[in-house]
Point group: C3
Chain length 401, copies 3
């Protein structure tokens, strides 16, 4: 059935794929968007598989060259020539897009973490730092997020890639007084090789990925997902503690609204003998869906009101910020919640020597500044790990393993 459809959508706008050599009309290559669902295609396991593009054999032959897309088992891959390549290139990454934490299983997490660790070793001006040379990443931000944007842009540039920046992506549609996200994506994919999108609406990233012929990375969509944050958190635990099976993690602060801790709990459930402690003011307790999920996965968890006790037992104390904007007029409740569980030197005193304090940042005073000098304060290292995780994902999505 997919083959029957092949005459309908032979190519997309991806660079170098629509390049007829002659000066005649190129409409017969039919660069169009067909709304075949991925389920209809059904020839590949990934949830986020892109539409395969079927090429005439002749075209296909020409494409089997370094720097071009080529077809392997009906799936387009991209081979890239670099001087003295430091990474194996060619085997396709299992994911076409990075949209939500649920896409990742234990094996793929481990494999990504190995690539991230390779990224830590890349030297300036080395061939490794030029593997994405010639690639363009568009940062399509519908709401500003300087921190996340800089991290992605740094990752791309550290690998020799280039960036098209827009922090006012809403202007796309406002100018038009109503352009759809899909139309915007179709335009931007004509100018770039990968899209990093931040949006104010949950589900926007999935919609963009379904439209785009190039990879999409979700850099946060409203109350929805922020998968690269979840990955860097797990990566940091692995790097700091040296293992993920058997760890004890205390999640502290705003557990009701923080998508960070929710995603982290979700990913930790993929490991063995994990124990999770929830420490939060009552008004922002962890919600039942995550608790039920952990139980169903056989993960031990308990709620505690005693941060000292939890800090004494845990490998990781993961602190988060109480978000004032969730309390509306009730500033009294906010102030009460906010002052309840502070990580300070008293907490450090009871924490094991090998344990660490983590925080997704920015922090206010939920971790006191005198904690910063302690080697167990891992939060700035954690921020830096975001760079390596994003370098790894960009490499994998654009070049494969």
């Amino acid at each position: 059935m997919a083959m029957a459809a092949s005459s309908l959508f032979t190519c997309s706008f991806r660079e170098g794929m629509c390049s007829p050599e002659t000066k005649t009309s190129y409409k017969n290559l039919m660069c169009n968007y067909v709304n075949l669902t991925r389920k209809q295609l059904g020839c590949y396991g990934s949830m986020y598989l892109r539409h395969p593009r079927f090429l005439h054999d002749e075209e296909s032959m020409k494409l089997e060259q370094p720097g071009r897309d080529s077809k392997r088992n009906g799936i387009l891959c991209r081979a890239v020539k670099t001087d003295n390549p430091p990474f194996t290139v060619g085997k396709k990454f299992e994911l076409d897009d990075v949209i939500e934490a649920q896409q990742f299983d234990r094996d793929i997490l481990n494999a990504i973490f190995e690539v991230a660790q390779d990224m830590e070793k890349i030297k300036k001006n080395s061939s490794g730092s030029q593997i994405l040379k010639g690639y363009l990443m568009a940062t399509l931000f519908y709401e500003p997020s300087t921190r996340t944007r800089l991290s992605f842009e740094s990752a791309m540039k550290r690998l020799g890639g280039e960036v098209l920046t827009t922090e006012n992506a809403r202007e796309f549609s406002s100018a038009a007084k109503g352009e759809t996200l899909e139309d915007t994506i179709r335009t931007v994919e004509g100018y770039s090789d990968i899209i990093v999108m931040r949006h104010f609406e949950s589900g926007a990233a999935k919609k963009a990925a379904a439209t785009a012929g190039i990879p999409v990375i979700n850099a946060g969509d409203g109350p929805g997902q922020h998968p690269t944050q979840a990955l860097l958190d797990v990566y940091t635990i692995e790097r700091e503690i040296g293992k993920l099976d058997g760890i004890k993690v205390g999640l502290v602060g705003d557990l009701a609204n923080g998508r960070t801790v929710r995603s982290l709990a979700y990913l930790l459930a993929k490991y063995k003998d994990v124990k999770i402690y929830f420490v939060s003011p009552e008004v922002v307790n962890m919600k039942d869906d995550i608790k039920d999920y952990l139980t169903s996965m056989g993960i031990e968890w308990e709620e505690s009101a005693d941060l000292i006790d939890v800090a004494n037992k845990c490998d990781v104390v993961y602190q988060t910020r109480i978000q004032r904007e969730r309390f509306g007029e009730r500033i009294d409740l906010y102030e009460e919640a906010r002052g309840k569980y502070i990580v300070d030197r008293r907490i450090l005193e009871v924490m094991p020597k090998h344990a660490v304090v983590m925080h997704p940042l920015p922090r206010l005073d939920e971790i006191t500044v005198d904690v910063d000098v302690d080697p167990r304060a891992a939060y700035f290292r954690q921020a830096k790990n975001g760079l390596y995780i994003r370098m790894a994902l960009l490499k994998l999505l654009l070049l494969g393993w």
Copy 2:
């Protein structure tokens, strides 16, 4: 006469031209701005010819090297060394700036289109993709236009060039509470090799070009011109239909206010046996100046209220958006105008197999989304062609043919 003036303006701020080798005063090179009109110089045909810079012979000799400016017949050219150059380099582009559609005649359009087509074939990391390495483009946007800006920045980066971005160029003058555009240009030309400018005032681009010692591209100046859009439209027709002589084009929608359709009509008049149909709600009919111009050029045109009939006869149906902001309080008139001529599957049914639907984007519902899957829906390919046209213009202005 030009020679008499030569002692007055020996050089501009263009990179590499003011580089005395000694540590003594360099004021004797006299880098100043002389308000000789181009007419006074009168030694070159182009309307947008820059001031020639006269160099002492000794200086001139030193400049005859790759990567430097050099004087040819009194006009400065730039030779560029690249490994294995994919383009002929050296012969000066006939234009110094791209300011308005009127600058382009049929021959130069054809030549630009050939370069644009070469651009489609450039591979990542090839020598072709590095021809603008070391060049800096400043995007000086006095009003945001993310779509246009990304397209230009992508074009520059695809050719190995670099970009200085400013979307808040108004801040230049607001900070100063009144710096002139000319002063801003003189500052920015010190930091870059080419300026792409978007302005809210008609004529601003021409003013900038008259001041700048480096090329200026008009990326839209208020209700005035947006010449690269006009070029990409004609280029798209040529690529999609395979010819420009003898084509039939239906211009649909807001013909009174759309600078796009006005420029397109203007450029089509340069070709033979063209027939144009105007299809628009009465309140936004094509204005008489364009109709008169077409008549004077011997181009056949007619107005029609029957989109089905026009679609049946045309090679190109060029749809545009009805702009709500033109209707003020009369939302009823807007709604009526807006719903009148929609391109949908009924239109596709009567369109010839070889014909295409175009649109400058963004679109609302004047083309229904079910049209997108038809191979004749050319509007996203058209957007992509903007990239190739801009790559071509950047190449031509900076390196010549």
Copy 3:
């Protein structure tokens, strides 16, 4: 004592310094921030010395390679390999950060100016233009300043470096509703190699430099300092007049509020036989602190109400803008002050042939546009010199002499 502390802070987040080769925990490298004051370390003369980072000998050995940091006399240096290096590389620059004009003495100014002059000669696509390849500069602007930002970004890109841009750095803290500057710096230094910061608060740059493990350049902090402007002014005088000792400079306009003229007066005091004339409306006279300082340094100065007379005697007429915002409701006083000392053709007539007019830009009508064509109008060359000074500082801070 410094050695005793060495076990506490072995490394910072600087790229390539925290790269354990094994997959085990890397917390034992203890990448933390210790609040030892620089005075406590006290092993180096510079006021802005960064914390030295002490490395295990083994690590240190590995780092003695091109492109890596290496330890010399207890101070980390960075060696960089380039093809055919145009600059001597390796000897550490005396400054770790550029925060205020007071950091510079006569010798270091002269040495910086020599590097700036080398920068003028760098050719596109030469090895010289790639010396900062692989380096990332973050422009962290808490208030927009397009002019200054573009100048720094152009400088970085002219040397082959890359840029992370943020003009809305306030968003960092607003998103967090109160992240400290220190935390922001610790995050951004993880993504970049050098930070150029513009801030609305005096002293912010010094605070950032004290936190950062990478160099910080002050691009203006409120009413405080703007040291690169001061440097480019002195550099311009040296380039235009050919000397600094023995020059006569007229400072004109708003001398009370202009940080530019205050810094310039401060730096000129480092040279011999300098004579300074202050010409300003009474309400914005030069303040006593600078006058006292000049007197204490043996620099002659006088106040004058006669611009013609001063212009007749000076090598440099340095005009500045009267800032309306300083006058509040008293627009009458503003208008009076503003019209009092205008540089026009009458001033040019009495100025010596070798003299120049300077202005920090933007200008309004305190210099009439008919002055622009005179070779002695140096203000646009002055703006361009800002590029060379910033290129020199970036080179020196990142690569050393």
